[in-house]
C-alpha cells in the first residue's frame, strides 16, 4: 500500500464517520422509524469498492464501524454488533454484485442496503434469541429501496468528482 492510497483510505474513513454523525441529526431517520437510517456512510464504501479493492473496502467499512462504536454508540454493545454484521454483509454483497453482475452502481447500492438490514435483523434475532423480529424485516427491506437509490446516486456523483481529482493527481 503506498502512502497516497493510505491517505485516501484514511480520508474516506473519516468522511464515512462524519456522514454517520450528520445523518443521525436528521430527525426523521433518527426517531420516527426505529432501525431505519439513510446509510450515507454506505456511499463511501461503494466509492472504495469502485476505486480500490475488496480488502480496502472491508478495511474502510470495519474502520468506520469501530470508530463510530468508539466515539458514539459504545464498543461491544448490542448496537455495535448489529452495525458490524450489517457492514460486513453489505460490503461482501456489494463487491460480489459489482464483480459478477451487470448491475449499475444504483443496483449495487440497493443490494447493499437490503443486505445491511438483513444482516442486522439476523444478528438481532441471534443476540436476543427471538424469531419475532422477522416480522419487522419486510418494512426494513421496503425502506431499503429508496435509501439505496439515494445513496447510490450520491456515490455516483462522488465517484465522478473523485475520478477527475485522481486523474489530475497522476
Amino acid at each position: 500500500m503506498d502512502i497516497r492510497k493510505i491517505t485516501h483510505l484514511a480520508m474516506l474513513i473519516s468522511l464515512a464517520v462524519v456522514l454517520n454523525i450528520i445523518e443521525s441529526t436528521i430527525p426523521i431517520f433518527n426517531n420516527m422509524l426505529p432501525g431505519v437510517k439513510l446509510g450515507l456512510a454506505n456511499a463511501i464504501i461503494i466509492v472504495v469498492i469502485y476505486l480500490y479493492t475488496f480488502t480496502d473496502a472491508l478495511y474502510v467499512s470495519l474502520g468506520r464501524v469501530f470508530i463510530v462504536g468508539l466515539i458514539r454508540t459504545g464498543l461491544l454493545g448490542i448496537g455495535f454488533f448489529l452495525s458490524l454484521t450489517g457492514a460486513i454483509f453489505s460490503t461482501i454483497i456489494m463487491y460480489l454484485a459489482k464483480r459478477y453482475t451487470q448491475l449499475s452502481i444504483i443496483g449495487v447500492s440497493i443490494l447493499g442496503a437490503i443486505f445491511h438490514s438483513l444482516g442486522q435483523v439476523l444478528m438481532a434475532m441471534l443476540l436476543l434469541k427471538t424469531i419475532s423480529l422477522i416480522f419487522y424485516l419486510p418494512y426494513l427491506l421496503l425502506l431499503a429501496i429508496p435509501t439505496g437509490i439515494i445513496v447510490g446516486l450520491m456515490a455516483k456523483n462522488i465517484l465522478s468528482l473523485m475520478d477527475k481529482k485522481i486523474a489530475l493527481e497522476r
Binding site: 451487470q102 444504483i106 436476543l128 429501496i145
Partner: protein
C-alpha cells in the same frame, strides 16, 4: 439505472410482498400470556386475561422499566433510554409482535394459551 437494476428491483419487491403476505397470515392471533425477559432470563410471566389494568416494575439495565397491562394487551409505560422506542411502540396484543428495549436489555414476548405447556417445560 439499467435493465438488470430493474430486474433486481422487481425481484426484491416480489420478495417483500411475499414476506408481508407470509407474516400477515400469523399476525392476528390474540394472546394472553406475556413473558418479560431481562438479559435473556425470564423475570416475569403475566396472564393478561387475569392480570388486567395493572402496573409492574422490572429491573432494566438503565433503571426500572414500568410495564402496564390491559385486557389481552401490554405496553411499556416508562423506561430510561435515549430514543424511547419501546414506550413509543404503545399497546401490543399480537403474538408475533414483540417489544424490544435494547438499551435496557428487556424483551417482552406474547404467546397464546395453547403454548402454555411449552412455557412450563422450559
Amino acid at each position: 439505472m439499467n435493465k438488470s437494476d430493474w430486474q433486481l428491483l422487481a425481484i426484491i419487491i416480489i420478495i417483500i410482498i411475499s414476506l408481508f403476505a407470509i407474516t400477515s397470515l400469523f399476525n392476528y392471533n390474540n394472546s394472553t400470556i406475556a413473558t418479560v425477559y431481562y438479559d435473556n432470563n425470564i423475570v416475569l410471566t403475566l396472564d393478561l386475561s387475569i392480570d388486567e389494568n395493572r402496573e409492574y416494575r422490572v429491573k432494566g439495565y438503565n433503571g426500572d422499566v414500568v410495564i402496564e397491562t390491559k385486557k389481552d394487551m401490554i405496553r411499556v409505560k416508562e423506561e430510561i433510554s435515549p430514543l424511547h422506542i419501546c414506550s413509543r411502540q404503545g399497546w401490543v396484543k399480537s403474538t408475533y409482535e414483540v417489544i424490544v428495549c435494547l438499551p435496557n436489555k428487556v424483551v417482552i414476548t406474547l404467546s397464546d394459551n395453547k403454548n402454555k405447556l411449552d412455557t412450563v417445560v422450559r
